[in-house]
Symmetry: C2
Subunit: 309 residues, 2 copies
Amino acid sequence: MSKRIGVDLGGTTAKLGVVNDQNEIVERKVIPTDKSKTFEETIAILSQGILEMGDVGIVGFGVPSSLKPVGDIVIHANNLGWKNKDLRGELKKRLGSVPIFIANDADSAAVGEYFQGAGQGCQSMLMLTLGTGVGGGFIYQSRLYRGGNGCGFEPGHMIVQQDGVVCSCGLHGCLEAYCSATAIIREVTACKKSQVLQEMIAENDGKANARMLFDAVRQNDTYAKSILEKYVHTLAIGIGSLTTILRPEIVVIGGGVSGAGDLLFEPLREEVKRTTFSYDVIGGAAIIPAALGNDAGIIGAALLDRVLI
Amino acid sequence: MSKRIGVDLGGTTAKLGVVNDQNEIVERKVIPTDKSKTFEETIAILSQGILEMGDVGIVGFGVPSSLKPVGDIVIHANNLGWKNKDLRGELKKRLGSVPIFIANDADSAAVGEYFQGAGQGCQSMLMLTLGTGVGGGFIYQSRLYRGGNGCGFEPGHMIVQQDGVVCSCGLHGCLEAYCSATAIIREVTACKKSQVLQEMIAENDGKANARMLFDAVRQNDTYAKSILEKYVHTLAIGIGSLTTILRPEIVVIGGGVSGAGDLLFEPLREEVKRTTFSYDVIGGAAIIPAALGNDAGIIGAALLDRVLI
């Protein structure tokens, strides 16, 4: 049988995987990517890597960009240095008649969790990825939701605090500006009062990371607990607003920050009850951790044909 | 030919209309509703009114409540005193085999604007209704969007300001708490510094209304202009966030506040450019006034079969 291949395309590597009928990755390949290469060069290298896997039946791509649906134009993949690139057209030149499916990388991860991870068995699922940024994907009526104009949605840039903290996108008060790992690092770094946190940073050559927050909370550090409490509150507001608009059956949380486990999920579940419109009556969504880690993007990309109309 | 009837159900009246093949209302009827009547009594009166219109082919209802999709259960229609009522079941008892379609009233209004009003010709449209509350409906891929669990969405209860003004729903900082006519009345009433506004209130037996704000702005009142500026800013943030999630082709604004015309729409269109993620690149949505006024709900209700799956 011909192979179903998923490609999770990032700024430093493209992770390729062959996915079998049980939605498991049975063969892997990693191809370095490099912003200094041209778009055409990168596609040539990727296509060669795909074709070398042999007997290619279908290929799906998760791409770190918004996409224009007609022709699957990459609008702006900053990590790859691509702007307004005709990804489908360029891939077609190299891959010929192989069916190609393309989606945003966070969307692809959501599709992976939906079929093989935390979202199995539901019909609608919101996934939020709490990493360097805040990304997400939404499965609606068993299909990948791409928004009215087809360009996908960006839950990280919903504003939760008007005139709030400046976000990487230039707006003020986006969910991403409060709930990304980057936001945690900002708060940890700025928290000079916490001896616990500042010692951790010093021991790590002066570099803070998000894990330090949770380690300090485990050590019962008051300042860290206060940062976490605010973090959970804002994330709950974001989830509450998204639930009020999207009404997913479940909310799956992935990305590095979700690795904190119960320390994050237990207070978050409680707080969401207080920040979601009509939580009891209309029914709030269960909040559960993602199950597949980095494999979600590969598996989801390989299965995109099942959720794209 | 048998008649297509739309019912816009409210707390004081039910507005009925027969809609022809050109989506125009060709026959009207108004039936008083009354919270003191039981659910069963109200349905009996409504059904009789419908059947008396003669030759009923199809009936659609716009209801002021969230709905549970299986069986179309009215979750809570506060204006009618209905809680967890089996609207479809009760109507079926009275209307027999007539096909019945049920949706939220704001959703029905959006459907009306989509087919016959401001949304004609587009495939996705967000409508926001700025009245006593803030309601809305979303047309996605030419269908009425009802959210993952089918209960519809409530854009008015998206939080735009964490820990902000208390909303009628009990949450803090909802869009409705800043952008409803009720919110304008609150600000106008509280603006003791504005002699212009306070005189208008005094002349109206001490009662403020939203129109006064726009009248005062036309008179160049500095305080009114400041209230309007903040109002537009917050509304733009709400529209920006909703656009980032839903990606409608157009945003239609209805409800009493939209009657302010250019005084509202011109600054709003400018402000939305500053509050929407990637406005220029992904493409912001055009913002246009609703066209049908109160008829939108009747026309939309009559056409629900075309947008409900």
